[in-house]
């Protein structure tokens, strides 16, 4: 949280200010689809087919020019390799050029970027992006260990898992009095309340702040109800050069060291700040134009860190505005109307795409009871422990 800090060598970017994406043709989202997130018995390929065929039907396209597949680790979770061809064949798109894209937990957003770049470069008029993960058939310690392989090997050799590193970050946030335990709990309360209105969400029930703050300790001071669940699910999008009601206004990537110990700050993610800067540069406007956002809240405090890193909330104010209801569905800046990773669920490589699906459906007024107003949506995805992050800005046109 707060200002960009650290030695100047860590903050040099190859992107030239004002030039990013200049003169590039517009890219649109033509169709979106996703499965219900949760504990699913179907094979991952079946879930991905459901999502993909939904998105293609919405776009009115039978055969896209290209397919981009996102899956974080089907090799370990399922024992399946060559996964791009595996999915393409299952979908009935064996003749379609296909690649797989992977950036850990932000793989879905990275796959969307790959599709965006293909269309923006004029290589294809339409690209199907489909992402998904299936994990609930494995025991939790096993899933935790597999996800944890995205952590630096040395830190992992000390038993560091994603919740462990998130626990270190949460303690640093609390010690610096940047947020309070009640403010962190409110993120979970709000997102569960939103998910209760989302038929695609993993959790359909509300939780109270007391339940969150008294739930089982996972990685001190982080508790169970601060953490997203282990979920199965898939999501898909069709990206086109042909004009639709939703334009991709900006997209940006930010990266940081694999090792958390090599970073100067635990309470702000450089990968967030760089991704946001790049995305807003491409969009040609700033965070003040954003009407609502889907934020990567794998751990409740990450929503608060990210709100400030992305410039959506002034430094030091994320906890306060959350407690005041400004980020609730009826607030000034609704955050995670879908329920977020916390309550919609986090099927890894599906998540970055599912966030964009929610933004597209919100922008085109198709979500019923959880509808929020607005013309500009922001989607934010964290890969690993903030090593490979994405910000995507969508605009109703």
């Amino acid at each position: 949280m707060g200002a960009i800090s650290g030695p100047p060598c860590k903050l040099t970017f190859s992107a030239r200010p004002g030039k990013l994406g200049e003169g590039m043709p517009s890219v649109y989202v033509a169709g979106a689809g996703m499965t219900r997130v949760g504990r699913r018995s179907e094979p991952l390929q079946e879930l991905m087919a459901d999502a993909a065929h939904g998105a293609l039907a919405e776009a009115g396209i039978e055969r896209p020019g290209m397919l981009v597949v996102a899956a974080m680790n089907p090799e370990e979770f399922l024992g399946d390799g060559n996964f791009a061809s595996n999915v393409a064949t299952y979908l009935g798109l064996a003749d379609t050029p296909t690649v797989r894209v992977e950036t850990a937990t932000s793989s879905g957003a990275a796959a969307f970027y790959a599709a965006f770049a293909q269309v923006a470069a004029g290589l294809y008029d339409s690209v199907l992006v489909v992402g998904g993960e299936k994990m609930t058939h494995l025991a939790t310690p096993r899933v935790s260990e597999i996800i944890g392989r995205s952590i630096d090997p040395y830190e992992r050799s000390y038993g560091a898992t994603m919740p462990a590193l998130a626990g270190l970050i949460t303690r640093a946030l609390l010690a610096r009095k940047l947020v309070t335990p009640r403010e962190i709990a409110q993120v979970a309360v709000k997102n569960h309340a939103n998910a209760a209105l989302n038929p695609y969400a993993h959790f359909q029930q509300a939780v109270t702040a007391e339940e969150v703050m008294e739930s089982r300790m996972v990685a001190e001071p982080l508790r169970l109800l601060h953490c997203c669940p282990i979920s199965d699910g898939a999501a898909a999008l069709v990206v086109t050069s042909e004009r639709t009601p939703v334009r991709v206004a900006g997209i940006g990537q930010g990266t940081d060291t694999l090792a958390v110990r090599h970073r100067d700050s635990l309470t702000s993610f450089k990968a967030n700040r760089v991704a946001a800067r790049a995305a807003f540069q491409m969009a040609g406007f700033g965070p003040e134009r954003v009407d609502f956002a889907e934020i990567h809240d794998a751990f409740a405090p990450f929503e608060l860190i990210s709100l400030e890193d992305l410039g959506l909330v002034p430094p030091g104010k994320a906890g306060r505005v959350t407690l005041d209801g400004e980020t609730a569905r009826d607030g000034r800046l609704p955050i995670n109307p879908s329920g977020g990773l916390k309550a919609r669920g986090h099927p890894l490589a599906a998540t970055g795409i599912a966030q964009i699906v929610e933004c597209v459906w919100q922008l085109t007024r198709r979500v019923g009871a959880r509808q929020v107003p607005g013309r500009v949506a922001l989607s934010h995805s964290i890969g690993g422990l903030a090593t490979n992050n994405w910000v995507i800005i969508l605009e109703a046109v």
């Binding site: 830190e155 038993g159 990685a219 110990r261 090599h262």
Partner: protein, 144 residues
Amino acid sequence: MKTTASHIAASRCPRCQTVVAPPASYCPWHPVAMTPTTVAGVGEIVSFTVLHSAPEGFRSPLNIAIVELEGGARFVCHGDETRGLKIGSTVAIEAIDDIYYFSHLGALERARLFWRRAGHAGDRANAIARSLAKRVWNRGPRGN
């Protein structure tokens, strides 16, 4: 008596002077080979957690800390006791068979740490045996 790691192996970037521990071949920020150096085995707690759902191969609860070492590098290690520990607390880093722990520890505590951390019986027995052997060896020549 203590096996405090007075020096921890590290590496320095000749371009930006960043120090990382343990040593790396290349600077995380520059495609430049790093030069070997050492940092003191003393530092300040940056943050710490007690993990109650340890991954496969570890036992819960598991103490994990990030320590800012004198000399610049941040270091990840285990610790025996977090009671009374605060961000900013000064700790010593001890190496016990290539595994680093913060604070000073006696032999019994060391053995207990091995027992708690190791996931496999073989590793446990091996680690304890090597720790005890090292302790006897250290004790012998000094005559105490």
